[in-house]
């Protein structure tokens, strides 16, 4: 059963709204007038350069240390997508903002040797995302990062842009794989486990039994 909320009945004075607007303006105006003499700004304005406003977007603000950033996909130094479409982030994501389309039967090995699986599509709905960082924590491939984390190759400008994650409609705020990869930048992976595995496997390829049978068949 839906609950019907009783609205407070407003008097005529309150319904005019003009007094309320005026009250708001009063606060702004008092700040504006007290800007020079205010004790709050005295400190910041020591060198007389401080402004209360920014010329955004040319001018960007300093990001406070508690800021985490938005999740992006990263590529390795060979410009290959690190994600292997294991869908753990999709599973762990509390607001279900991540949507991965698995590669299907064929896989997608065009990027990297040894990885049989790559996402066909990877979408994050930035309007749904709560920037909790679970996806980064759960990722077994180090393929998704919140932009604040200082992984090697991370771009500070990129991060500051996140502070104003904007779009003009809902569709624009659903970031697809290409957009996420572009924003994520490069992660300098020192281990490169799949490449290492492939190299190891190739080094072992000359085991005797298999070679013999190959020759026989030929």
């Amino acid at each position: 059963m839906a609950i019907k909320v009783q609205r407070v009945k407003l008097s005529l004075w309150e319904r005019l709204f003009i007094p309320t607007l005026w009250n708001g303006f009063k606060v702004t105006l008092s700040h504006f007038l007290s800007f020079k003499k205010s004790k709050v700004y005295e400190d910041k304005n020591k060198d007389n350069k401080f402004k209360a406003t920014l010329s955004y977007p040319e001018e960007l603000w300093a990001v406070p240390p508690g800021f985490r950033g938005a999740p992006y996909l990263v590529s390795d130094q060979d410009a290959a997508t690190k994600c292997v479409s294991c869908q753990l982030c999709e599973f762990v994501c509390p607001p279900k903002a991540i949507r991965i389309t698995p590669p299907g039967e064929t896989g997608n090995t065009t990027h990297r040797e040894g990885v049989e699986k790559m996402p066909k599509e990877f979408e994050i709905d930035m309007l749904r995302c709560i920037f909790c960082g679970y996806c980064e924590e759960v990722c077994p491939e180090e393929a998704i990062y919140l932009a604040k984390d200082y992984y090697e190759g991370y771009d500070e400008k990129m991060m500051r842009r996140d502070y104003a994650l904007t779009g003009s409609n809902r569709e624009e705020m659903v970031f697809n794989k290409d957009k996420l990869l572009e924003r994520g930048g490069t992660h300098h992976d020192r281990i490169k486990k799949w490449e290492k595995k492939t190299a190891d496997a190739k080094a072992q390829e000359m085991f005797p039994v298999r070679d013999k049978s190959k020759k026989k068949r030929e």
Partner: protein
């Protein structure tokens, strides 16, 4: 209670006393093996009776015992060897002396036995959860994981993998193995439906035993004995019989995977729904895996009365049509269900007795056929269904390709031979005695009722899920549901009445056949019916002779179904 004593007890089963984890239990001396033959009960089975699961890879209750994975090692205590007097060593109080087994050359080290292939001995003590047993398990698991590639992120088995499960339960989180891992072939094409990853394989040989002993196709074997041993087919002979996908099911790890399901979806996202295969009259029990209204796979569900734990590949892969774009999703004849059902009722009410014929499908559920039968009784209509025959095989595939032929027979829609009445219906339309035809789920133009005959009808009501020549001529077209989109029951070739559940939503305006049939029947016959599947089934169970004797009801069907006489 005195009355209960009179009930005849089943013949006493010979039991054997054993101690599991210090608890004394009695278990049957003999247990059916994979062929149903009675063989001595094993340690693993005794532990199951005691409610303790022994981890295992190679053991499968429906396959011959191989005993090669060593995962089911348990520490046991045995009575000692008989002395010179022919009597085993006794305790001072006269009871049998049980000694924990130790290595003969190293008395301090406990010795394990494999639970799957060790028969019980009276008085035996099984230390199923002792520290010694745990240590054995950890060691075996560590050895199995030595060369495992640990690529769970790209492995389809992840989420239903015994290696993962046992690693959590019995594994050590860290590997002591610092050497280079052995690399084996990956993504090996074994056959048209199966892909092998030899690195993940634990060489349990379940797939080999299944192919040889169950499917009767000796296609798989182990080659390159030694460090590089792997499962393989004969050169030039692909692994291609109609039961190959069962090997992917029984593979405890991600070595054998289904090409159809490979990389489609992680298993933990799949919603599991109990269902039935509709490919033939066997009615194999299945589990549908679906996510967000899309079906991803179909797996066999164990039911010893029908399919055991297996099913055929052709039936398993016969689901792609359910999500097809070509499905009928719009009404034809009116725009909404209320109008179309009212119009149908009005038109049917005008129809004269015996001027109506009904051609149902043996792919429909018992409930739908029952409702059609009610409609037929009202008009004394001539009814029939369409036969669909193919080839059967030695294991599960039946020659009758209709899932519910027996349902149609028992409910009275069709006679012993399906399709026997079709010529009579065609003749009736030809000479004008049949003016109205109701067709469900069949293209009658393929079965002797030509398009020109359909043109002669005053009223043609058709329900189907795909467009065909009959639906094109329908005055009223009612889009129906695939089996995965509704609930209902089928009666299989042996008379097993089984139920299936709804996994997906029907496309567009399509509705489950029993829902709108129920409304039509209620309007036309004036009898009240049940508007739930359960109620409808229970009503049918009370009214159809074959079902009544069994005292059937929806709840009593359970997951496995009930056999009725056919």
């Amino acid at each position: 209670m005195p009355n209960e004593a009179k009930i005849e007890e089943p013949p006493a089963i010979e039991t054997i006393p054993v101690k599991v984890d210090g608890r004394e239990i009695t278990v049957p001396k003999l247990t059916p093996d994979w062929q149903g033959k009675l063989v001595p009960t094993t340690v693993l089975q005794a532990c199951k009776h005691a409610g303790i699961e022994i981890p295992h890879y190679c053991y499968h209750p429906k396959l011959p015992v191989a005993g090669n994975c060593r995962m089911c090692l348990v520490h046991v205590g045995m009575p000692g060897r008989p002395g010179p007097d022919g009597k085993p060593p006794m305790n001072e109080d006269g009871s049998l002396k049980i000694d924990p087994m130790v290595l003969p050359y190293e008395r301090g080290t406990p010795k394990g036995v494999i639970g799957c292939a060790t028969n019980l001995i009276p008085g035996m003590e099984i230390y199923a959860t002792s520290p010694e047993t745990k240590e054995m398990r950890e060691a075996v698991l560590e050895s199995l994981l030595i060369n495992h590639p640990l690529d769970c992120t790209i492995c389809d088995q992840a989420g239903e993998c015994k290696l993962q499960e046992y690693s959590v339960e019995h594994g050590q989180a860290e590997s002591q193995f610092a050497e280079q891992k052995v690399h084996k072939p990956k993504a090996v094409d074994l056959g048209p439906r199966i892909m092998l990853d030899a690195e993940r394989c634990v060489l349990c040989t379940r797939c080999i035993r299944f192919s040889t002993d169950i499917a009767g196709d000796d296609a798989l074997g182990i080659v390159n004995r030694g460090s590089y041993n792997s499962i393989a087919t004969f050169p030039g002979a692909p692994f291609d019989n109609n039961y190959t996908l069962n090997t992917a099911d029984i593979c405890p790890v991600g070595a054998l995977t289904s090409k159809d399901f490979r990389f489609q979806m992680r298993v933990w996202f799949l919603k599991e729904t109990n269902s039935l295969c509709t490919g033939c009259a066997t009615g194999c029990n299945t589990v549908i895996g679906s996510r967000e209204n899309k079906m991803y796979r179909q797996e066999p569900r164990e039911n010893d009365a029908v399919n055991g734990p297996w099913m055929c590949d052709s039936g398993r892969l016969d689901y792609k049509w359910i999500g097809s774009e070509k499905r009928l999703s719009k009404l034809n004849g009116a725009t909404d269900w209320t109008t179309i059902l009212t119009e149908i009722t009005t038109n049917l009410e005008k129809a004269a007795i015996t001027s109506v014929a009904i051609i149902a499908s043996a792919r429909q559920t018992n409930e739908e056929l029952f409702l059609l039968k009610k409609l037929a009784d009202k008009f004394e209509a001539i009814t029939d269904s369409v036969p669909r025959n193919g080839e059967g095989d030695h294991l599960l595939v039946n020659a009758d390709k209709n899932p519910n032929s027996n349902g149609a027979r028992l409910i009275g829609i069709a006679g012993e031979t399906l399709g026997a009445n079709l010529p009579a219906i065609a003749e009736g339309i030809e000479n004008g005695t049949i003016r109205s035809l109701i067709v469900f789920g069949e293209d009658v133009t393929q079965h002797g009722i030509s398009e020109s005959l359909l043109e002669k009808l005053d009223l043609l009501i058709v329900s189907d899920i795909f467009a065909n020549a009959t639906t094109a001529r329908a005055h009223y077209l009612l889009p129906g549901c695939a089996y995965a989109e509704k609930r209902g029951t089928f009666t299989n070739v042996k008379g097993q009445v089984q139920k299936f559940m709804k996994a997906l939503d029907a496309p567009g305006n399509a509705r489950a056949e029993w829902e709108f049939l129920h409304e039509i029947v209620e309007n036309v016959t004036g009898q009240n019916g049940f508007s739930t599947t359960e109620g409808l089934f229970n009503q049918m169970a009370g009214e159809v002779d074959a079902f009544r004797g069994k005292g059937l009801n929806w709840a009593a069907l359970g997951d496995d179904g009930v056999t009725v006489e056919i």
